[in-house]
């Protein structure tokens, strides 16, 4: 075991970074999550509403005690009920951005941000200077003197972010940190966030519903459903190989489960899909809606996958239209507006869908 190994490359039991098993009982709900991250790593917790993401963050921050399990950060045990160890929240090097901000209503934006440094013994003037600095990075210099009630939703969230970062935590917890930000600010804050996290070599755990944010910000995604990890891995991996409906809809893929026999996958529903991968046994098959081509009449194409489907609905997506199709293989297809016009699509219309085998992606279930 090499202690000098760069933390991210450490393959053995980690001594640096986060290593936790979080078990929390909350009435009928039970959270049971393994979570580890190397310094500098950003882990995103994704999951449907009520999956336990906020509960996990509270447990990491020390606000909700573990029922059992253990929590180690940088080699230090912060909590382990079995050994009756528990570091209180204020002694954990942890920063939290709460889902509803929880800015102190009686303090100005500046003093909210200066609060953490003050608690860590930084002299008042310096703490305020640091805070002003943070607010500047968030583009909020002109709102420094405002009380939280006079801030707009997005301004409040940026102040909350600055407040959490100002203590230079070793573990940064973010509950939907970008949800209320507008597109422009979001890009900036996102970039800034990455920059600061990299600077500090801190571990960051963030909860988000926005697949884009998760993909862009996180090195690794942990998908939680009903208090348990259902899938974990690099964003690209997960987006290509979703294992549950929730994840598939999250990353905007068509996902099917079936049984592979060479390049052909027979789906549980009866239809078959031809893939490039050569597999045997139970598999998942996924493909993006944009990979589907629709035709008015049966095409005479090289595409290996051809299905006759019916239009169930349409929704515009930016400058694209997402078409919901039913039939032997229910799927979503993304088309451009001219294409839709040309095909004269409308609900109830029958169309032919083709899909190149190279656009599909199959992997063992």
């Amino acid at each position: 075991m090499t202690t000098d190994a760069s933390p991210t490359e450490d393959a053995g039991p980690r001594t640096d970074g986060l290593d936790a098993r979080l078990v929390v009982d909350r009435g009928t709900f039970r959270l049971d999550l393994r979570l580890s991250a190397a310094p500098g790593e950003v882990v995103a917790l994704l999951g449907p509403n009520g999956a336990g993401k906020t509960t996990a963050l509270r447990a990491l921050a020390g606000l909700t005690p573990l029922t059992t399990g253990a929590l180690r950060l940088d080699g230090r045990t912060l909590e382990e009920p079995e050994r009756r160890l528990r570091t209180p929240p204020e002694h954990r090097p942890v920063g939290v951005v709460f889902q509803d901000y929880l800015l102190f209503p009686h303090l100005t934006a500046l003093d909210n941000v200066a609060f953490g440094p003050r608690c860590h013994g930084v002299p008042k003037a310096e703490a305020r200077a640091q805070a002003a600095d943070w607010l500047e990075r968030m583009g909020l210099t002109d709102r420094a003197g405002a009380k939280p009630r006079a801030l707009s939703g997005g301004q409040a969230q940026r102040v909350a972010l600055a407040r959490a970062l100002a203590t230079r935590p070793r573990l940064l917890l973010l509950d939907e940190p970008l949800a209320a930000l507008d597109a422009r600010t979001r890009l900036d804050v996102r970039a800034g966030l990455r920059r600061h996290l990299a600077e500090f070599e801190a571990v960051a755990v963030l909860v988000t519903h926005d697949p884009l944010d998760a993909m862009v910000l996180a090195d690794r995604l942990v998908v939680v459903e009903e208090g348990r990890t259902v899938q974990e891995g690099a964003p690209s991996d997960i987006s290509r190989r979703p294992r549950t409906d929730y994840i598939a809809s999250l990353v905007g893929l068509n996902l099917y489960q079936g049984r592979a026999d060479g390049h052909t996958v027979r789906l549980d529903g009866g239809a078959t899909i031809t893939t490039t991968e050569d597999l045997t046994g139970p598999v998942f098959v996924a493909f993006p809606p944009a990979a589907v081509t629709l035709h008015r009449d049966r095409p005479d194409s090289s595409a290996r996958n051809l299905w006759r489907l019916e239009v169930a609905g349409m929704e515009s997506h930016g400058d694209q239209i997402r078409v919901d199709l039913t039939g032997e293989l229910p799927l979503l297809a993304d088309l451009t507006t001219p294409a839709v016009a040309e095909l004269a699509l409308h609900p109830g219309r029958t169309v032919w869908a083709t899909l190149k085998a190279t656009q599909t992606h199959a992997y063992p279930a």
Binding site: M1, T3, D4, G12, P13, T15, D16, V24, D25, R26, L63, T64, P65, T67, R72, G75, R76, T77, L78, R84, L85, R86, T87, P88, H91
Partner: protein, 292 residues
């Protein structure tokens, strides 16, 4: 340092990890928060508690335990106690009905002279109770500026009646409720009232169904204050309502009179009063004070 970090999992926490006390297992439920109480709060809190409780302990230690059974068998004591409980409860009810709206007015409505009104509300606190009783007589007595008219128009006379006791107690106790409820209302977020009005609630409905339940702990605290103050009220009661056994003689009046003739008996009576109020308060409180 290198040594320390190299173990798979360090055995001892290196930071200020808190070792849970042995009793932690017994706590049921999931506490929201650690139970360790910071010393800078614990010490003055305990100081305050000792300060308040010590005189009561002294009273207990020096109490004439032998004369207590005699007191408890006296019909007059039970009569006074009963009257005290009834009138204090009635006074607290009057204070609630009139005081909560007044507190709301002070906290939420904007009108000129609000500060003056608030100061006026506080005055019955400052008035020595006997003078308060005199003021009540001047206002509601047989010759009072309003009492004269109450008497001639409706035949209502308040002095020397049980109703008069309630009036005197409510007069002294209501400011406590008004001021403490106003404080709670001001600390409450007015946006919930706004949300209620967008759902079609009138301002009154919003108050009754949203604000009031949300500040229930504060209102309960105010009601407890008012009830307890009414239960202990002496000066205004005896001045305004007089002292007639079974009609206007409450426990504090009994205690005061006993003090004249038999101080030991007075202490015994006070202990009875205290015991009853402990029973009532400890019995009722958590149901009311439970945060929403």
């Amino acid at each position: 340092m290198t040594e320390q970090k190299s173990g798979p999992v360090p055995d001892a926490a290196t930071g200020p990890a808190e070792v849970l006390a042995g009793g932690s297992r017994r706590r049921s439920g999931t506490p929201r928060f650690r139970t360790g109480v910071p010393l800078p709060l614990l010490l003055p809190a305990l100081g305050g508690l000792v300060f308040l409780v010590l005189p009561l302990v002294a009273l207990l230690v020096r109490a004439p335990w032998r004369s207590l059974p005699d007191q408890l068998t006296s019909v007059a004591v039970w009569q006074a106690l009963r009257l005290s409980l009834i009138t204090a409860t009635a006074a607290a009810a009057v204070a609630l009905v009139l005081g909560v709206p007044l507190a709301w007015l002070l906290a939420r409505a904007r009108f000129p002279g609000r500060r003056l009104v608030r100061a006026l509300v506080t005055l019955p606190l400052v008035l020595p109770p006997v003078v308060g009783g005199v003021a009540l007589l001047l206002a509601l007595g047989r010759n009072g500026i309003v009492g004269r008219w109450l008497d001639s128009a409706f035949g209502i006379t308040l002095p020397f009646t049980t109703a008069g006791v309630v009036v005197a107690e409510a007069f002294v106790a209501m400011p406590f409720l008004v001021i403490s409820v106003e404080g709670t209302l001001r600390a409450a977020d007015p946006r919930y009232e706004e949300a209620a009005t967008t759902l079609g609630a009138s301002r009154f409905t919003a108050f009754r169904r949203v604000t009031l339940p949300m500040v229930a702990p504060g209102v309960a605290a105010g009601a407890v204050l008012a009830w307890a103050r009414a239960l202990g009220e002496f000066g205004a009661t005896i001045t305004f309502a007089g002292n007639f056994p079974g009609r206007t003689q409450t426990m504090p009046l009994s205690v005061y009179l006993a003090l004249q003739s038999d101080p030991a008996a007075a202490i015994a009576l006070s202990l009875v009063l205290l015991a009853v109020s402990i029973a009532v308060l400890a019995g009722l409180r958590d149901r009311w004070m439970a945060a929403s």
